[in-house]
């Protein structure tokens, strides 16, 4: 049993999410990712189960762990009450903590995610906000989305949202007090440290790749290079 494995096992999500797996495949059978990506939750659990650090590190540095959508469909069906989805969360956490996430294309996307999502939470009090959710990056927002974006205040006013104003209601402006609370919570719970870590390591990786921060963001957000789809062959 290796050190990495031990560290992984200290995660409560892993303790709860991984009792001995019997390889029955009920998780993979319904996994939305397994049908399209080169991904098989059963195999992930199996690798963790080997307790082989070398294999686990390989996993932490790979694209594989980043394919899961955390829908937790696997959790319902496991006859051993395992939760492969939780195992993935623990692996991803460790991959970030150990700085391995920058080694894989999909792992590097954490930069964009951390920047946008944590930025939103700390600036607007919510994970999604019209100020940062742009048609430009979300063409599927559709022609209606584009129309909403073009008439933001009017559309929100029409449907009774409290956009940008104080008091209760959808899209209200979150009071400074609450935002400060969120910032302090981020600071004391390790959220800020996590985000900083992701940003730091990503900056380094960006330098290594000869990209500016913005280029790096665009790169990880938009581009696909490796072969990720599990078409016919594996």
């Amino acid at each position: 049993m290796g050190k990495i494995y031990e560290r992984l096992m200290s995660d409560v999500r892993l303790q709860e999410g991984l009792k001995a797996c019997i390889n029955c495949g009920t998780c993979t059978a319904v996994c939305p990712a397994a049908e399209f990506y080169r991904y098989n939750p059963k195999n992930i659990v199996n690798i963790v189960q080997t307790q082989d650090d070398e294999e686990i590190i390989k996993l932490l540095k790979s694209d594989t762990i980043w394919y899961c959508g955390e829908c937790m469909s696997c959790v319902t069906r496991c006859p051993r009450t395992n939760a492969p989805g939780q195992v993935i969360i623990a692996l991803r956490t460790l991959s970030v903590e150990l700085g391995y996430f920058v080694e894989s294309e999909k792992g590097r996307q954490q930069y964009a995610l951390a920047k946008v999502l944590c930025g939103n939470v700390l600036n607007y009090g919510y994970c999604v906000h019209p100020e940062t959710f742009k048609y430009e990056n979300h063409p599927e927002y559709g022609t209606v989305g584009k129309w909403i974006e073009d008439h933001l205040q009017d559309v929100y006013d029409r449907v009774g949202a409290n956009y940008g104003k104080s008091g209760p209601g959808p899209l209200r402006k979150i009071a400074r007090e609450s935002l400060d609370d969120l910032q302090k919570i981020f600071d004391v719970t390790g959220g800020s440290a996590r985000v900083e870590k992701i940003k730091d390591l990503s900056r380094k990786k960006a330098q290594e790749m000869g990209l500016s921060e913005e280029e790096y963001f665009n790169e990880v957000f938009n581009e696909t290079h490796g072969e990720h789809l599990n078409q016919q062959n594996q």
């Binding site: 397994a34 049908e35 399209f36 063409p139 599927e140 938009n222 789809l229 599990n230 078409q231 016919q232 062959n233 594996q234």
Partner: protein, 109 residues
């Protein structure tokens, strides 16, 4: 048509409904041993190409039985017909003839 920068990906799932069993049945007539496999993996474990190519007889038999013939011919093209699998198979499957029959039957389109 708009290019969104992403699209619908093909499914990798084995869909047995779309599996036309004609050729597999022909194979089973030619070499009935194909039905006897219990997927123990002895063949793949002893194969001299293991680690050098993706030939895996257990997988060949399995995929044929699942209608995934496309992968099979490539795998079988690596076979040297050395017969180690024949010796180790606990079910006594005539592996060499099976492989030859696979090439014979699945070759013709």
């Amino acid at each position: 048509m708009i290019d969104f920068g992403y699209g619908i990906s093909p499914s990798s799932a084995i869909n047995l409904d779309k599996f036309d069993r004609t050729r597999f049945e022909e194979l089973a007539r030619e070499e009935p041993d194909v039905l006897k496999c219990m997927a123990c993996g002895s063949c793949a474990a002893s194969c001299p190409t293991a680690g050098h190519s993706d030939m895996n007889l257990r997988r060949v038999i399995l995929l044929l039985g699942r209608g995934r013939e496309d992968e099979v011919l490539r795998m079988v093209s690596h076979c040297m017909l050395c017969g180690k699998c024949l010796i180790v198979c606990p079910r006594g499957i005539n592996t060499r003839h099976l492989i030859l029959s696979v090439t014979k039957i699945y070759q013709k389109k």
